[in-house]
């Protein structure tokens, strides 16, 4: 009898999950940049594509390059036309908090923040200190000059967590390593990032990193320089610059998309923060296949750091790091 009940329950759960996947959901995502930015926006775009490939029926509308000042207008137009509206960037948080509650029949999502915004608004927060930490471990072991350059975007949102996590990993793997840090003040200023990257290379840094889509500007300079390596924040960098990128972390936003659709189908509308970490596959980590670029011992240390993070999620005390 027990077996029969378990079997029936399993069949019912399968049927429910199948129904959840089969229903089409209209989703609009507001991006601060283009979906091919080799960084932040592209990661989310790829997350949607992955969710579609997993069998979720999504009527997807990307709205690219929305400026902070235009966000209220854009959200107003999107409201009432989509089931779920995702604002992919902390710069839209104020607009979502203001406009979301005016349209209670829509489900809204805002990232990145770990705050709760209201009954019909989900939030999501990549625990970016985790990929930052692994990258820091690699950078600490790879630097010969003991000088590492961090091309920061803005000291906010998950970018701030990434940089602090990186410094944590760097100091743990190589206490003698020094780091240079400068912020472009923007998530998309590739020109500014290029200038900062160039300055760091001139100053003797032989390993560079940088969060957000702006970092590709610095990566171009790394690729043009001799003997300088890059530890990436998106796997697209590993594909486009394989000769200098030793490893790359990446967001897997399908976890957020799938999480939102599942909750939407269950009738949940918000007031919850969805975290992204290695434990829930919210991040992926890819090593360069070039063994000359990435020695085995470094890879093993990074893998050990990765395994530690999977086993003990959300335990990195990134807030304890005081940046120079």
């Amino acid at each position: 009898m027990k077996k029969l009940i378990v079997l029936l329950a399993a069949i019912m759960m399968l049927a429910v999950s199948f129904t959840a996947v089969a229903e089409s959901v209209s989703i609009a995502i507001v991006y601060p940049d283009t979906v091919d930015d080799k960084g932040w926006c592209q990661s989310m775009h790829m997350g949607v594509e992955k969710a579609i490939s997993m069998g979720y029926e999504i009527d997807y509308t990307p709205v690219e390059s929305v400026a902070t000042a235009d966000a209220p207008n854009t959200l107003d137009q999107l409201a009432e036309n989509y089931d779920i509206i995702i604002c992919h960037g902390a710069m839209f948080n104020t607009a979502v908090q203001e406009i979301g509650p005016e349209y209670p029949d829509q489900v809204w999502a805002a990232g990145t923040t770990d705050q709760l915004f209201g009954e019909n608004i989900f939030t999501y927060m990549p625990m970016s200190e985790e990929p930052g930490y692994i990258n820091g471990v690699i950078a600490g072991m790879m630097t010969k000059a003991n000088k590492v350059g961090i091309v920061g975007s803005t000291d906010g949102a998950d970018s701030a967590r990434y940089v602090r996590g990186f410094v944590m990993g760097l100091q743990e793997s190589n206490p003698n390593a020094e780091y240079m840090l400068s912020w472009t003040g923007s998530f998309s200023d590739t020109v500014g990032a290029g200038d900062i990257g160039n300055t760091f290379i001139q100053a003797g840094c032989d390993v560079l990193v940088g969060p957000a889509q702006q970092a590709v500007g610095a990566l171009r300079n790394v690729a043009a320089a001799e003997g300088v390596l890059w530890v990436g924040q998106t796997t697209a960098q590993l594909v486009d610059f394989p000769e200098v990128t030793v490893a790359a972390a990446d967001y897997d936003y399908s976890a957020v998309i799938v999480g939102l659709i599942d909750r939407y189908n269950e009738g949940k509308t918000g007031n919850e923060c969805l975290p992204l970490n290695y434990n829930n596959d919210g991040f992926v980590y890819t090593f360069s296949e070039n063994t000359e670029l990435l020695p085995e011992d470094v890879k093993a240390a990074a893998q050990a750091a990765f395994d530690k993070l999977v086993a003990t999620a959300n335990t990195l005390d990134y807030k304890s790091i005081e940046l120079k």
């Binding site: 709205v63 929305v66 235009d70 209220p72 137009q77 902390a90 906010g156 949102a157």
Partner: protein, 370 residues
Amino acid sequence: MKNFKLLYTVGVILLSVLLTLGIASLILAVLGADVLKTFWVIFCYPFTTFKNISGVINIMTPLTLVGVGICVAYRSGIMNIGGEGQMLIGLLCAIVFALYSGIEGPLSIPLILLTGMIGGAVWGFFPGILKSKFGVSELLSTVMFNYIATQLYSYCLRVPLLDPAVAGGAGDPQTVKLAENQWLPRINEIIENTPKGTRFHTGILIALVLAVIVYLFMWKTPVGFKMRAAGASDRAARYGGISVNKYLVLAMLVSGACCGLAGTVEILGVHHRGLGNCTGGYGFSGIVVALFGGLHPLGVIPAAFFFALISFGCSALQINKIPVPSNVIDVLMGLVILVIVAAKLIIANPYLMDRTQRKLQSMLHRKEAA
């Protein structure tokens, strides 16, 4: 050839429209987009709902304020490219005053607006005094002051004014929200039963009133006359006993005040707190608006409306699922603006009109002779 001017103007406008439509259609056809639907969204969709019209008005408001400020400077013989920086410093001063003065009640909004104007005026004063005293090019100084303002604002947003709720990576740098009684009232708070999403605020009234005041100041007062005289010909003005340098500085003060007010109105009316990139580049687009409006404060009003319309329409393309990449949308917008400004310059050029008239006349004579 009676009414040639009218014929010439209509001809240039028609040709410009055809040229714009032709080039834009070509781009859209290459991208596989529905050409007619695209034009419908850009030019007609903004009028389809009150919510959309409200959005257009909200874009128009800062454009009008900046445009009016730019007019004052240009008419007085100094080119103000620093509208963006003046907006930022204006809104920064306004936020600091709003957050720390402890002022509340009916006077709070006018005082915050005044503080924003003073902030913008001070930021305009520096390039003005540098120009008048040391002959420093205002093109150089205003652009440099934009950079300084951007970095100063960025620093304030991240350090002294940072909202504790977003400290340590919990969100994008921002200030705390201003008190609700410091916000500019929205139209749906004044008029009952307005449609949902009616978001435009009383800042538009401030912009319209300011345009009229600046027009009266520049065209109906002795000081305004002297400023325009200095702008029209500084040598002639000096010969007439006008202190050109003094009026250059005054022009930059007024211009900066208008831009500072634009930034403050954006904060009090739309965002209600300091945010990164909250000026939306209006400090720069306001220059084009001013030029398009004939560098006349009242001409700026329709020009700002038209620019807001195009801006809103173009941003609505993606929302209406028209497969045009965002970069191409910027190209389309730039194209429309470029052709309009070019057409305006062609219409305003008497030599070109005269040459065209003579050519047409000689063609007609030859035809008659034949």
